[in-house]
């Protein structure tokens, strides 16, 4: 298994789905990367199933990690922000409220309130602002006095005024107000009489003092915290990418190996195994794959061995048959000549032996030929020949010279590179087959189509039954189970098919709409 990055799930180093760096070793500049791309491209060409997945495992894993990280960061930031914000603001307002109360309590005010008396007092309180300076306003009936040049503040809300007048809140109240983008703390404290008795409630004077303090610094602090939280979250997300990619790689590499292995097994490399280590589910998967592959390899090997044995057996049998046949065939002439001088029964027996010996010799010859094809031992001895000459000689050698029987229509001057002996067998088998099972006249046509030599043998017989058509090239196929043995060995068309294949061509059987069977051979010139 090659660990190279490729176009599998999540893409490779050269095109991550989201611009993410690949997990594989970064191919160096130039040659290696080119080579890898080339190999990947070739693999793509071989197997269209291997394509980049825009939402592959890697993308999903990375997105999941980022989502978790984002949610974590966001939640943390939000909680921190809330807690810190309230802490800062509360601290500020607690300080301010208590300081203001103290100031107000310490006031020495004589009633009725005179504006001129009150103002210096307010100025004094304003200077005591804690934690920061505040503006102080006093309201007494319709009297409005302040420490600033404006007698009243627009920041003080009616609500606060109402609450300040509320008898149940003797110690005053406060409110945070945002005005013009600036947050303000407004505090209202009613001035009271302190009665001498301990249980007596303080008596309101009707004078209410307000302090208005801008909280923009606190707000700025909170803003800074938010910014810090955000600035911390982004690197955190970036950092989260690393474990995401590592995890993705950990998942993807076994998956990719598995895919490569499955692909390679599909191409016939049954000895493919995956490196299985660890004890997680992926390792289990790898081990299961390996076990299945081993099992498959065993079964296929057994099948192949059985097939090889069967083929060897057929080949050995036909080889063994040749020697006795060679002796028998050499004396058939003697039998045929002397049969006339024998009594009739003996003569018939002798002629039968002679005739069947001849057929047996043809059958064994054909078996040998098929065995050679099966053992891939058939060799092509090509020669550049005139195709029409070849066909003409074939017909002459078989004495098929009567145009009423076999009519040749041969394109002249076609030079083709083929094995003349095998081409002769092809044409002779097809014509012999047409004469036996079809009907005269048999036409043999020869022409070229592009870079192909086309040979067509057609007869005027009844054609081939549709049930038989797919099996005409099978070995020993009998179109009619009860059919008596014909002159052929039953291997003629099978040998024809193998011979054409050896040339890199095709042979097809079909029925002509006008009647009769048509065999078409196409071979490269």
């Amino acid at each position: 298994m090659s660990p190279e990055p490729d176009t599998g799930p999540g893409g490779g180093a050269h095109h991550g789905p989201d611009g993410a760096p690949g997990t594989g070793p970064d191919p160096g500049p130039g040659g290696l990367a080119e080579l890898r791309r080339g190999r990947a491209a070739r693999r793509r060409a071989r197997s269209p199933r291997l394509r980049p997945h825009p939402f592959g495992l890697r993308t999903r894993l990375v997105l999941a990690f980022l989502l978790v990280a984002a949610v974590g960061c966001g939640t943390t930031a939000a909680l921190t922000y809330r807690a810190a914000r309230s802490a800062i603001l509360e601290q500020a307002q607690d300080t301010a409220v208590s300081a203001f109360r103290e100031q107000v309590d310490a006031l020495n005010i004589r009633l009725p309130v005179a504006e001129d008396d009150l103002r210096p007092l307010l100025m004094q309180i304003a200077r005591q602002g804690k934690p920061r300076p505040w503006r102080v306003y006093a309201e007494y009936g319709t009297v409005r006095v302040s420490s600033t040049d404006r007698p009243s503040s627009s920041v003080i809300t009616p609500e606060l005024r109402a609450r300040a007048a509320d008898q149940r809140l003797p110690h005053g109240s406060f409110q945070r107000v945002v005005k013009g983008g600036t947050p303000y703390l407004t505090i209202a404290v009613p001035a009271v009489f302190l009665t001498r008795s301990a249980e007596g409630a303080p008596q309101r004077t009707g004078l209410v003092l307000y302090a208005v303090m801008a909280l923009d610094e606190e707000e700025a602090n909170v803003e800074a915290m938010v910014t810090a939280a955000r600035d911390g979250a982004l690197p955190a997300l970036a950092v989260a990418l690393i474990p995401a990619l590592i995890a993705a790689r950990g998942v993807l590499r076994p998956v990719r190996e598995l895919r490569h292995a499955a692909h390679s097994m599909g191409r016939g490399r049954l000895d493919t195994r995956i490196h299985a280590k660890g004890s997680d589910e992926l390792a289990d998967l790898a081990r299961t794959f390996n076990e299945s592959a081993a099992e498959l390899e065993r079964s296929v090997a057994e099948l192949r061995n059985a097939e090889a044995r069967a083929r060897r057996f057929a080949s050995d049998v036909s080889h063994e048959l040749r020697t006795p046949l060679a002796g028998m065939l050499a004396v058939t002439e003697v039998l045929d000549e002397d049969a006339d001088g024998l009594d009739s029964d003996t003569a018939r027996a002798v002629r039968l032996i002679s005739a069947e010996t001849g057929k047996l010799a043809v059958l064994v010859e054909d078996l040998m030929e098929i065995s050679r094809f099966d053992a891939r031992a058939a060799e092509l001895h090509t020669d550049e020949v005139d195709a029409a000459d070849c066909v003409r000689k074939t017909l002459q050698n078989r004495h098929w010279t009567d145009p009423a029987q076999v009519a040749p229509y041969l394109g002249e001057g076609i030079r083709a590179r083929l094995d003349p002996r095998r081409f002769d067998v092809v044409v002779a088998n097809l014509v012999g087959n047409a004469l036996r099972h079809g009907g005269a006249p048999v036409t043999v046509r020869l022409w070229t189509e592009g870079d192909q030599l086309v040979t067509e043998v057609a007869d005027r017989g009844p054609g081939i039954h549709p049930d038989v058509l797919p099996h005409v090239f099978d070995r020993f196929y009998k179109a009619d189970q009860a059919r008596t043995r014909s002159a052929g060995s039953g291997l003629g068309l099978a040998i024809t098919l193998e011979n054409v294949r050896l040339h890199g061509g095709t042979v097809t059987a079909a029925n002509d709409p006008e009647g009769g069977a048509v065999f078409t051979v196409r071979m490269p010139l």
Binding site: R322, A326, L329, D383
Partner: protein
């Protein structure tokens, strides 16, 4: 009638072929092993050797080599295998032709006659000896000499050379040569021609790798010359 020595280890084939040939008037001597065959050769002096390739002990190819060391006796191989490899090795060893078993007697005899047949000379006032470069071809005496030294040629080699030199610079396809020199059918085995050309070149060319007399025309065949 030609005298034929048959070297064949299988008794039934030996007997069958002997019977068949004798019925056609040949004088046949048989031997069961290569060694016995070589012994019979000197004594029987056959016109032709029919040789099985698969022999126990000394095999047919070795017998072929031994015969070719000293004589240009026509040799036809009998091959039970018909495997391409066997045929090529036998042809390289100097056999003139081969027959695949099983074969009818008429086929065997036709091959024997073809190998023994002298090449037909087109009648004409040819000089007895032709000179082609360093080669002197005596068409009447059926001898070939190179630079004055006689070259021993097997029947198929001699016939091929005579056929090519009869029409110098004319291209013959391998199929044509098979028909004319070996009298095979048009669809015979072109390797016969190739093997014979190789053997011939080894005997007559100065450098067999760069032939001067017998030239190959890829895709067409062979021709003699031009020198």
């Amino acid at each position: 009638m030609p005298r034929v020595l048959l070297i064949e280890d299988d008794p039934s084939v030996r007997e069958g072929v002997e019977l068949g040939l004798r019925r056609r008037g040949h004088e046949v001597r048989t031997a069961a092993t290569g060694e016995a065959g070589l012994d019979a050769l000197a004594e029987f002096r056959p016109d032709l050797l029919l040789l099985d390739l698969m022999l126990p002990g000394m095999n047919g190819v070795q017998v072929c080599h031994r015969v070719r060391e000293s004589s240009q006796l026509p040799i036809i191989m009998l091959t039970a295998r018909g495997d391409d490899f066997d045929v090529v090795i036998g042809l390289e060893a100097g056999a003139d032709d081969y027959i695949v078993k099983p074969a009818r007697t008429e086929v065997i005899e036709a091959r024997i006659r073809a190998v023994l047949r002298r090449i037909e000379e087109p009648g004409g006032a040819r000089s007895a000896v032709e000179f082609h470069g360093d080669l002197a071809v005596d068409r009447a005496g059926l001898t070939v000499a190179k630079s004055g030294e006689r070259i021993a040629l097997a029947p198929s080699e001699l016939k091929l050379l005579l056929h090519l030199t009869a029409a110098p610079e004319q291209v013959f396809s391998r199929q044509q040569l098979l028909e004319h020199v070996w009298e095979h059918s048009y669809h015979g085995d072109a390797r016969l021609v190739d093997a014979c050309v190789r053997r011939l070149r080894n005997k007559i060319e100065d450098t067999p790798g760069e032939p001067r007399y017998i030239q190959t025309l890829r895709g067409f065949g062979y021709r003699f010359g031009p020198l």
